[in-house]
Symmetry: C2
Subunit: 351 residues, 2 copies
């Protein structure tokens, strides 16, 4: 700001090294980091005094802060940002690690959703964090089949299957038993009118139109159509899943009251965060707004298929998350999933 020269000197190699070291240490210990600790690191060859000077500068620039005068420094919001964007050295995954992660993706039916789900569970185990999953956007998820199956007196199971391999069912209780003919009509009618419709677009209005156009079958079959509508809603609502929340509870640096509040309306909260507009991997801090849990961060990575976003996988953890480990994990997993779901297509084309 003050002098052009300054601007360059601020980011000099040593200061970057020191900032990185502070963040590294803080991530491990959770305690404010002092000059002495940094000075004792092998690849820092200056005295604590020098480091103190540099840290003072880093503080002025807003990368570090002191909880109180006589404490060490902790990274600020922008400190973390700089660390993640430029300073941290993301560990290369070893072959064993890759193998372990591959094993996590070994599910019998490798649909995008199943893979993402499986990766999510593995991630929350490995990182001791919560994970968040946004399955394929309902925009891209298309109804492939609607079935009705009798299952008792006046009881019917409605079944909806989507292009993303998702299945949902619902029990309907009707006023009368359906004749075979009615059931056949229903199946045909559904196939003709709903096949290929994105679950997103199946509004109540559309259903009402369909009911109106059913003619004689209207009275008997309307309740079923209502059920279909509810099924589609279910697909929309259940878009986002958070798992491994218990890992957050175990942490002392995260307020458990806030976790409870977060769990109560996680969908609302996370929805904004999983916006499609950003890059393929992004790190969001609670300071970025909307996020309920103080002092937490979320790393989100997208999975694509044919260029379109097929799902999103993320990790929610404390601010002082081991980014250098978690980010490569997340990148590797989403990378593999992306490969696998496009391989799958090739597979089919080969045939």
């Amino acid at each position: 700001m003050y002098l052009q020269k300054g601007v360059i000197c601020l980011l000099d190699e040593r200061k970057r090294k020191i900032l990185a070291a502070v963040v590294d240490a803080y991530i491990v210990t959770g305690e404010p980091v002092g000059s002495k600790t940094i000075a004792s690191l092998p690849d820092i060859r200056v005295s604590p005094a020098t480091i103190r000077n540099d840290m003072a500068v880093l503080e002025q620039l807003g990368y570090l802060e002191q909880p109180h005068t006589s404490a060490g420094r902790i990274p600020t919001y922008s400190g973390y940002r700089l660390y993640i964007d430029e300073l941290m050295n993301a560990k290369e995954l070893s072959d064993e690690e890759k193998k372990m992660l591959d094993d996590c993706l070994d599910v019998d039916v490798p649909t995008a959703d199943a893979l993402i789900e499986s990766a999510s569970e593995a991630l929350s185990e490995l990182t001791h964090c919560a994970t968040v999953v946004k399955n394929i956007s309902p925009k891209f998820s298309v109804i492939t089949k609607v079935e009705v199956i009798p299952t008792g007196k006046r009881m019917y199971v409605l079944l909806m299957i989507t292009s993303s391999g998702n299945i949902r069912n619902k029990v309907c209780r009707l006023e009368f038993d359906l004749t075979n003919e009615q059931m056949e009509f229903f199946s045909r009618y559904m196939a003709e009118n709903l096949q290929g419709v994105p679950v997103d677009e199946l509004s109540e209005e559309i259903v009402e139109q369909l009911v109106a156009a059913m003619g004689t079958y209207m009275v008997t079959l309307a309740p079923l159509l209502k059920g279909v509508c509810e099924l589609a809603e279910g697909f929309r609502d259940n878009e986002i899943k958070v798992s491994g929340e218990k890992n957050l509870l175990a942490r002392r640096d995260i307020n458990s009251g806030q976790i409870v509040r977060f769990l109560e309306n996680k969908n609302e909260v996370v929805k904004n965060m999983l916006d499609d507009s950003f890059g393929d991997l992004q790190v969001v801090f609670s300071e970025d707004g909307g996020f309920v849990i103080e002092n937490s961060s979320m790393i989100v990575s997208k999975i694509r298929k044919d260029g379109e976003i097929a799902g999103t996988l993320g990790v929610i953890g404390p601010m002082r998350l081991d980014y250098a480990k978690v980010i490569p994990y997340l990148e590797y997993l989403t990378g593999r999933i992306t490969e696998m779901i496009s391989e799958e297509d090739q597979d089919d084309e080969d045939k």
Copy 2:
């Protein structure tokens, strides 16, 4: 013990009143209760000194204890037991309360499972505790239908429906596409061999026998049968559900670390507790063994249909739970559910 006369005098009316008052007060405040507090209650007409004497006796008998010399008394394990069994005056439900609880049971398809589930959610809201549900025992849950539905290249959805109205599905990926004839055979074969079989009994052995007896269809259809087997397993494993755990987290008197451990293996832990052998309503304390969360209690109530246990509904909360309120709630709900699911049968028979 020492003198016969003692044994009678120990349970004299006043002492019972005092014990009840101590437990009542402790349940509300969570603080040790002193003689003065008790003396100030309207229907106690003796002095603090007298109460102190009585409390000393109650302590000797093991119903009360002191955290330290100069503190009030808190109930012991057996204190609670006596309170629940004999002393507490369970509140009669008002009409409004009954109506509210009835509303909670207003689901569109009143199967036993759906009702219990719904009651469970309502209960955890109303009591601010966790609730536990054991759905109908797989022993009584019988396979009514197995369907296979094609849903893409070599992809099939298996659907299993049980007598308790439960539905579960699974995607199977086969090596080859099935012919219509194969699918029809499968449906018929399932209907002939599995209809009426309790999900409990569908072991791998049985499936292997079925596969062996399939003749020419063996190779193609074996993977589907394996899927059927897994579905049945799913019914067995998912027997117990705990919900509203977050309510426990909010409580300061329950260790959150223990909650986490409890959630990790809730099924194991709760399974023992929901033993069918006891009476229809039982209260279990963590001291009774097996239960991980210290200082907690669980109230369990059974729902029957035709004399058989059709499900179990319970509340998990702190030791100092408001039993006088929660027990009537639980009893009313399970009572209503029991009525509703037998009504339903009558309904069907009327027709």
